[in-house]
C-alpha cells in the first residue's frame, strides 16, 4: 500500500487519554471505545486493502452529543472521521491514526413516516433496506437500492450519493432526499431542505449529498418514498458478443424505453455467478443482459415484447422472460452475487467503478483486454449498462508479492481510460482514498482548488475526514482567498505577504 495520508498531529497523539476523557464526558457509558482490540473493528471499510485503527471511536446517540463532540474537536484541533455501516468501497470511512472516529450506528430509529406527503424521516444509522421494510406493507418503497442495502445506512448513502441497479429510472440518493439535519465541524446544527420540494437559497442540501463526510455529520434524513410499481418483469438475454449486447442497450433507449434496470455481465462473470448460485444462466454466450421493466402490468407486458424484439434484431442467442416473481428474483440472484462469485474463482478481486459514454464501450472493452494481458491479471466485467457505469473486477492474489500493486496500477489505468473517453472516475462508489490521487486526471488544479473552497466554507480547519477525495488538501488560508470585498481589505495599510 502506497497511500499517503495527512501527517498525524503529534500533539494530538500525545493527548490521547485526555481526548478519551473529554469524549466520555460527552457520551457516557459504553459509547467511547479506546481498547486497541475493540478498535480493530473499525480499522477499515469495504476497501479492505487499507487498514488503520482509529485513535479512539465514539458512538453518540443524540444530535446534541454529535454537536458537542464536533465542537470540542474543533476547538482542540482534533480530526474526525465519520462512519456509517462501513460498507464504502472507496475507503471513505478509513480511520486516521490521530482522528476520532464518530460511528453513527446508534442513530437507528425511524422517526416518522408520512404517507400523505410520501416521505420518511429517519436517523442516519437506519439501513437502506429497513426504510423499504417499514413502508412496504402500505405499498411503498425507497427507490435507491445499492447492492449492500441490507447493511449500508441511509447516512452513508447520503455521504456517498449511493445508486443501485434502478437508478437509471429512479435516480441516485440525491434525487430521493428532501432534507437533512447536519452538524457542522464547529458544532453548529443546521437544517437543509425539509419536507417540501426545493428550498429558498443555495442548494446546500445538494452539495452535502455525495460530499463523502467532508462537510458535516448528518443526524437526520428525510427521504421520499414511492408507491411500489404494480409489477416488474425481467428478460434474461444472451449475446454472442459484448458489443452486440451493448448495441441492444442503445437500441432499447433509442426506442424510447427507460427500463427499471439494465445490467450486463461478461463471460467470466456469467460463469462465476452460475457456478455460485446455479440459476440457469446460459454458459455459451459472451454477454448476458438483464433488462427489468416495471410499472403497470400492461406496460410491463408491452415493453417486454418490444425489448425482446430489439434483442432478437441484435442477434440474441438466448432469451427468457420471467414467468413469475420467483423467476425474476432468480434472474437477479446471479447478478447480485457477481462480486462474491468472482471472489470464489480468484483469491482476491478489486472492483472498479468508472462511467463512460455508452457509445465508447467497444473500444473501452478492447483496451481493457489489452491491459489485462499487459498486467497479467484476469478481468471480469459487470456493468450497469443503461447508464454506462462499469464495474470491472480485477482478479489477483494478495499473497503473491507485487500482485496488489499491479492490480491497483491496472485499476488506475482503467479509470484513466474512462476519463480519456469522456467519462468519470466514479459512478457510484465515491472517490474516498481509493481514487483520490487520480482526481487530477479529471479536474484541473483550478477546478480542485474551487471544490476545496467549498470545503473551507463548511470546515475551515480541514478537520473533517481529511485525506479523502482531494489529492492534497491546501490549508484554507492558502487558497488565496483574502476576501477582498469591493476592493477594500479590512486593514488596507497592513503589509500582506
Amino acid at each position: 500500500m502506497s497511500l499517503v495520508m495527512p501527517e498525524p498531529y503529534a500533539g494530538v497523539l500525545a493527548r490521547r487519554s485526555e481526548i478519551v476523557r473529554a469524549l466520555r464526558a460527552i457520551v457516557p457509558g459504553e459509547g467511547v471505545i479506546d481498547d486497541p482490540d475493540a478498535l480493530r473493528a473499525y480499522e477499515s471499510d469495504g476497501l479492505t486493502a487499507y487498514r488503520q485503527p482509529p485513535m479512539v471511536a465514539v458512538l453518540p446517540e443524540t444530535t446534541d452529543q454529535v454537536a458537542a463532540i464536533l465542537r470540542w474537536c474543533h476547538a482542540q484541533g482534533v480530526r474526525v472521521v465519520p462512519r456509517g455501516a462501513g460498507t464504502s468501497l472507496s475507503g471513505g470511512a478509513l480511520p486516521l491514526v490521530d482522528a476520532v472516529l464518530v460511528g453513527m450506528a446508534r442513530f437507528n430509529r425511524m422517526l416518522d413516516i408520512d404517507y400523505a406527503d410520501r416521505l420518511a424521516v429517519v436517523q442516519p444509522g437506519v439501513t437502506n433496506l429497513a426504510v423499504t421494510r417499514a413502508v412496504e406493507d402500505r405499498g411503498f418503497y425507497y427507490a435507491p437500492d445499492p447492492s449492500s442495502q441490507i447493511a449500508c445506512t441511509i447516512g452513508g448513502n447520503v455521504a456517498e450519493n449511493s445508486g443501485g441497479v434502478h437508478c437509471l429510472k429512479y435516480g441516485l440518493t440525491t434525487n430521493n432526499v428532501l432534507g437533512v439535519e447536519i452538524v457542522l465541524m464547529d458544532g453548529e446544527i443546521i437544517r437543509l431542505g425539509g419536507r417540501q420540494l426545493d428550498s429558498a437559497g443555495l442548494d446546500l442540501l445538494g452539495v452535502v449529498v455525495g460530499s463523502e463526510g467532508l462537510l458535516g455529520i448528518v443526524t437526520e434524513v428525510t427521504v421520499r418514498i414511492l408507491p411500489k410499481p404494480e409489477g416488474a418483469r425481467a428478460l434474461l438475454i444472451g449475446f454472442p458478443s459484448v458489443e452486440s449486447g451493448g448495441q441492444c442497450v442503445a437500441d432499447v433507449i433509442a426506442a424510447g424505453i427507460i427500463p427499471a434496470g439494465m445490467e450486463m455481465m461478461d463471460r467470466l462473470a456469467i460463469h462465476a455467478a452460475e457456478a455460485f448460485v446455479e440459476v440457469g444462466y446460459p454458459l455459451d454466450v459472451e454477454a448476458l443482459l438483464i433488462v427489468e421493466l416495471d410499472g403497470v402490468t400492461a406496460e410491463c407486458d408491452h415493453l417486454t415484447g418490444e425489448v425482446a424484439a430489439i434483442a432478437r434484431a441484435n442477434g440474441a442467442t438466448t432469451l427468457r422472460l420471467s414467468a413469475d416473481e420467483a423467476e425474476r428474483v432468480a434472474f437477479w440472484a446471479g447478478r447480485k452475487a457477481a462480486f462474491p462469485a468472482v471472489g470464489r474463482v480468484s483469491p482476491d478481486y478489486y472492483c472498479m467503478d468508472g462511467t463512460i459514454p455508452r457509445r465508447r464501450l467497444p473500444e473501452v472493452l478492447e483496451r481493457m483486454r489489452e491491459l489485462s494481458e499487459q498486467y497479467g491479471l484476469g478481468l471480469a466485467n459487470v456493468f450497469h449498462a443503461g447508464d454506462g457505469n462499469l464495474h470491472p473486477l480485477i482478479l489477483y492474489d494478495a499473497n503473491v508479492p507485487g500482485e496488489l500493486d499491479r492490480a491497483e496500477a491496472f485499476g488506475a489505468d482503467i479509470l484513466r481510460l474512462c476519463v480519456a473517453v469522456g467519462g468519470v472516475l466514479t459512478g457510484e462508489h465515491g472517490v474516498g482514498v481509493e481514487k483520490r490521487d487520480l482526481m487530477p486526471e479529471m479536474f484541473s488544479e483550478t477546478d480542485l482548488r474551487q471544490q476545496q473552497g467549498l470545503k473551507c466554507a463548511f470546515d475551515p480547519k480541514s478537520l473533517l475526514n481529511p485525506g479523502k477525495v482531494f489529492p492534497m488538501l491546501h490549508r484554507c488560508a492558502e487558497l488565496g482567498r483574502m476576501h477582498v470585498h469591493r476592493g477594500a481589505t479590512p486593514f488596507p495599510d497592513l503589509p500582506r505577504f
Binding site: 400523505a116 417540501q196 443555495l202 452539495v207 449529498v209 400492461a298 406496460e299 472517490v431 470585498h485 476592493g487
Partner: protein, 392 residues
C-alpha cells in the same frame, strides 16, 4: 470612468476580463440571459448587466446517451425544439417565467432557467433542474474558469457542484455551458379530473392519486374563484398507449371516492396544463407568490390567506401554491412558515420588491454558511448586486 451599463462577453476570456474589471472598478455584475426574470428581486441600478446571449449553440447531443451539452445562452424554445425532433424532452420540466411577466414564452435562456432552479408541473415526478444538471462550465466571481460535473448520466466524482449551479441565481459564477440529462418523450398523455372540490378535498384526491400505482406525472387544482365557480382538480399520466390506458383506469378507481371522475379531452387537457405553465388564471397584476410546502399543507396555506382576498391554485399535488395577494406580505410568509415551507415573491411592483425580499431569508446558521459558500466562488462580491438583499 463610469462602468458601461451592459457587457456582452463573447468568450470565456471576455468573461474573465469582465470579472477582473468589476473587481477593480468595485461595480457588481448582474448576469442576464433572456431577461425573463428581470422583474424578480430588488432593482439593482448600480449593477452592470452581463449579457450571456453570446454563449449559444448545441455543443454535443447524442440522443442515445441521454445527454445534451448546450451553450447557456441558448433560448429555451431552441433547446426544446432540438430534443423534440428526436422524440425526447429535457428530463426536468423547465419553467419559463416570460408569460408571468406578459412576455412571449420560449425566450428565456436555458442558463437562466437552470440558474433559477425552478421547474413546472412535472417537478413532482421528474425532479427539477437540480436533479438533471449533470455538469457545467463557468467563470467564477474570482475570474477563474471552472469545470463541474461531467457529461455522463451517472457520476459522483468530487462535490456535486451542479447542485449549486441550479438555483444559484447568478450569485456564484457565470455559467457558459450546461450538460443536461434528456429522456424519451412519452408518446401518449391522459388527464383525469374532478370538478367542484374545495382545497382540502383536492389535496386528499391528489394524494390518493400520487400514492397509487398509476405513476402520476403531475397533479394540480385550480380553485373555483379562478374558473368561474367550477374548481378543477386534474391528474396526468403518460407513457406508451397500452400503459396509459391502464394508468388512467387506476386513476378512475382511486379517484372515484373523491368525486365524479372525468376524462379530459386532449384540447381541454392541453389548455389546463398550459394554464399551470403560464399562470394565466393569476394574470391579474396583483403581487404573485410561489409557496413551497409539504403537499398535505397546501390547503392550510390557502385557508389562512383566502379570507384576506388571495386567489390561488395548487401544483405539485398541493406542494406548490401559486397565489396572488394584495395584502400584507408578512401574512404570506407567516402562512408558508406555519405550513413548514417558504414563500417567494415572484411578481410585484418595484416599491414592494424593494421592501420585501424575493426569497425567505434563511435562518442565521444557514445564512452564514451560504455567505461563506458565496465567498468561496465570489470572494470580492462581484455578483452582489443587491437584488437578493445580499449587498454588504
Amino acid at each position: 470612468m463610469a462602468p458601461a451599463t451592459a457587457l456582452s462577453p463573447a468568450s470565456v476570456a471576455d468573461l474573465i476580463d469582465a470579472m477582473a474589471a468589476a473587481r477593480r472598478g468595485g461595480h457588481a455584475l448582474a448576469i442576464s440571459g433572456g431577461g425573463s426574470k428581470a422583474g424578480i428581486g430588488r432593482l439593482a441600478p448600480g449593477a452592470v448587466l452581463l449579457d450571456m446571449s453570446a454563449f449559444t449553440g448545441i455543443i454535443d447531443y447524442d440522443p442515445v446517451e441521454l445527454v445534451l451539452t448546450v451553450g447557456a445562452g441558448t433560448q429555451l424554445a431552441d433547446v426544446e425544439a432540438l430534443v423534440a425532433a428526436e422524440d425526447q424532452m429535457l428530463a426536468f420540466d423547465p419553467f419559463d417565467h416570460g408569460p408571468i411577466f406578459g412576455e412571449v414564452g420560449g425566450r428565456a435562456t436555458i442558463g437562466g432557467v437552470v440558474a433559477a432552479g425552478v421547474a413546472g408541473s412535472r417537478r413532482v415526478s421528474a425532479g427539477s433542474a437540480r436533479d438533471h444538471l449533470l455538469g457545467f462550465r463557468a467563470v467564477s466571481g474570482a475570474g477563474e474558469a471552472l469545470l463541474a460535473g461531467a457529461r455522463v448520466v451517472k457520476n459522483v466524482t468530487g462535490y456535486d457542484l451542479p447542485k449549486l449551479g441550479a438555483g444559484s441565481w447568478g450569485r456564484l459564477f457565470a455559467m457558459t455551458e450546461l450538460t443536461l440529462k434528456v429522456l424519451p418523450r412519452p408518446p401518449v398523455r391522459a388527464t383525469r379530473a374532478i370538478a367542484g372540490l374545495d382545497a382540502q378535498q383536492a389535496i386528499r384526491a391528489m394524494a390518493a392519486a400520487m400514492g397509487s400505482q398509476a405513476e402520476v406525472v403531475a397533479a394540480a387544482h385550480i380553485s373555483a374563484q379562478l374558473r368561474g365557480g367550477a374548481a378543477l382538480t386534474a391528474v396526468q399520466v403518460c407513457g406508451f398507449g397500452p400503459a396509459v390506458e391502464a394508468k388512467a383506469a387506476i386513476l378512475d378507481c382511486v379517484l372515484a371516492a373523491h368525486g365524479r371522475v372525468m376524462a379530459l379531452e386532449e384540447s381541454e387537457a392541453i389548455g389546463l396544463w398550459d394554464d399551470l405553465r403560464t399562470l394565466a388564471p393569476l394574470n391579474s397584476g396583483q403581487p404573485l407568490w410561489r409557496v413551497h410546502v409539504p403537499p398535505s399543507r397546501g390547503a392550510a396555506v390557502v385557508s389562512n390567506l383566502h379570507p384576506h382576498g388571495a386567489h390561488w391554485l395548487f401544483d405539485w399535488a398541493g406542494g406548490l401554491v401559486w397565489l396572488t395577494f394584495d395584502g400584507d406580505p408578512d401574512l404570506v410568509r407567516a402562512a408558508a412558515a406555519r405550513a413548514g415551507g417558504h414563500a417567494s415573491l415572484v411578481r410585484g411592483p418595484a416599491a414592494l420588491r424593494e421592501k420585501v425580499p424575493a426569497f425567505d431569508p434563511p435562518l442565521p446558521g444557514v445564512a452564514a454558511l451560504e455567505e461563506r459558500v458565496r465567498r468561496a466562488f465570489d470572494p470580492s462580491g462581484v455578483f452582489e448586486t443587491g437584488r437578493f438583499g445580499d449587498r454588504a
